[in-house]
Symmetry: C2
Subunit: 343 residues, 2 copies
């Protein structure tokens, strides 16, 4: 069954590649745009509409360490907005310095993805935002503690009422996650590549254009396509060649379906030059090495150093431009009723 | 000798109090301003002039986790600028979740103080900034590691050259500390009380004015005076009555002079309503309790609940107004030469 799926997928890939090859010499914006699409201003969600009040509250909560048991760890601890939405570590450090099993993906543009976490265990950023708060290795909190802390702080009472005007008792764990998610839905980063797709041919250097061509011709776009240049499908890591060091069973841990062994969500490549180290366990620090590995294990190709260099050059054009501008909130003080930090 | 000093100090205090009592009914701006002085725009230091290039670099470095051994902890981890320059914990959490012995004081307005750290072991913020980087319980780094990490990142090379244009080899541990300090020298927060001293009588509520009067009459200004409303002298904690729970020998640990036992730098009261918990070990969460304790152990007075309430009300007027506006930097990526995180 798994074998059948892979064979089927390979056929799909081949035909996609054939299709792409048809115009792969032509990397004019009009040809390229349909592969990737247009980055929206906000990744809106009808089930959790992005409002200024919710985004503002979400910004506060994103930086709010009191959502964690210790009152030391916030979303921003591992998804640092000073650091392209990552912590720059192979795998993250959580409550009591526990070291987690997977690399923290960037929160930038994450809301565009079809599913969340490496293994797709949350359907959107609303659901994702709840995970780390409750994970005993990460923020180690409980729903009750989060609500108790927030309810004890009058300024949050007010902000939740503004963000969720229809709720009579708006401070809930789910609404906290919704507000964080609404903030994240605004964390979309334009890049020079978007400007290029928008028709500004000078936005990419000649080498970057060569890289784009190689990126398409090699078949990287089979998986790294759509507005987030990835984040649109699951894929087996080691599709063509086995990844020798891979221990993590990926999506299998969620579904227990043997076909999902070593299957992960395809990560976004936006800001990838700023979000080392790479892969599910952050094992690889060099983007060149990561590209070379992917070419081999996913596409069965031995990319030359020259091809790798070009692709990496193109990937540099996916970095936030203009750079992200985030203003820190001014977190409100605790009160006598606020449950104390539990480090 | 110690006894003699205390007696002498008590005489000084008494005369100060007498002096203050003379106009303590009159809390007009002109009478109050000489006690506190005018908050400068920047706490400049001729030995480390505050330049825009240095401040910008310092802002990057303040948020730079790669200054720590683990590449996880930055200055901002314990002096969170989203959180009034503190971590809100009794004592801070450092490398490998080690819990330190003292409460992290706010970095806001700290540059105004006559000495740094609770025990005054650093003469200014330039010297202070080096401490936590090298402290094995905090950032656990070494001078060599800091320099190696920074030198491996071309953007820092450029920024250091701009910040220290006269240096041929500007990336040094000392210059990193100087840049951080220059940034900190801009972290001064005006408050409603400053506006009041500037002549805007409506900037304080009637209760806050009553609190100011009580603050002066009680004698709090004996120690909490000057532009930082504290931070201008050392003082024995438990001057009149012993602090039963106090273990920390304070400045004695630095000087080994018996007269310095239980002596600490008088902390600033700016933003004090936002920087709980209080005292050297963050033992007290309630500002009311802290004020009551101080009245008793330092001034030998049993303040009534009403007096405490008024003083706390006045202290609220010392919070940053307008609120601090800090834009996060966009930290440059590591390179192949950057020493890896060592968590």
């Amino acid at each position: 069954m798994q074998k059948y799926k892979i064979v089927f997928f390979s056929i799909v890939c081949s035909s996609l590649l054939t299709t792409y090859s048809g115009f792969s010499q032509d990397i004019s914006p009009d040809k390229v745009k349909p592969i990737f699409g247009i980055l929206p201003k906000v990744a809106d969600n009808p089930a959790n509409p992005v409002t200024p009040e919710k985004v503002n509250l979400g910004r506060y909560l994103f930086f709010e360490p009191r959502l964690s048991k210790s009152a030391k760890i916030s979303c921003n601890s591992c998804h640092s907005l000073a650091n392209s939405g990552v912590d720059g570590l192979p795998t993250s450090i959580g409550h009591k310095w526990q070291i987690g099993p997977r690399n923290a993906p960037t929160v930038l543009n994450a809301a565009l993805q079809f599913t969340q976490f490496w293994d797709g265990r949350a359907k959107d950023v609303e659901e994702q935002a709840m995970g780390p708060m409750l994970n005993p290795k990460e923020m180690a909190s409980t729903k009750e503690l989060v609500v108790q802390r927030l309810k004890s702080i009058p300024q949050y009472e007010e902000m939740f009422h503004k963000a969720f005007p229809e709720d009579t008792d708006p401070i809930t764990f789910e609404n906290a996650a919704k507000a964080i998610a609404a903030f994240e839905r605004t964390l979309l980063t334009l890049s020079r590549f978007d400007r290029y797709m928008d028709g500004d041919l000078s936005a990419l250097s000649p080498e970057e254009k060569e890289g784009l061509k190689t990126f398409i011709q090699t078949g990287c776009i089979t998986c790294h396509n759509g507005t987030d240049i990835g984040g649109g499908m699951f894929q087996k890591f080691g599709l063509v060649h086995k990844v020798e060091w891979l221990q993590d069973l990926g999506r299998f841990e969620v579904t227990k379906n043997p076909a999902d062994k070593y299957v992960f969500k395809v990560p976004s490549l936006r800001n990838v030059t700023k979000t080392a180290p790479y892969f599910n366990n952050g094992r690889v620090w060099s983007l060149e090495e990561a590209v070379k590995t992917m070419g081999y294990v996913q596409l069965g190709k031995n990319l030359s150093d020259e091809e790798v260099k070009k692709i990496v050059s193109f990937l540099g054009s996916l970095a936030a431009e203009p750079p992200l501008q985030i203003t820190l909130p001014n977190l409100p003080p605790s009160t006598a009723k606020t449950p104390k930090p539990m480090p």
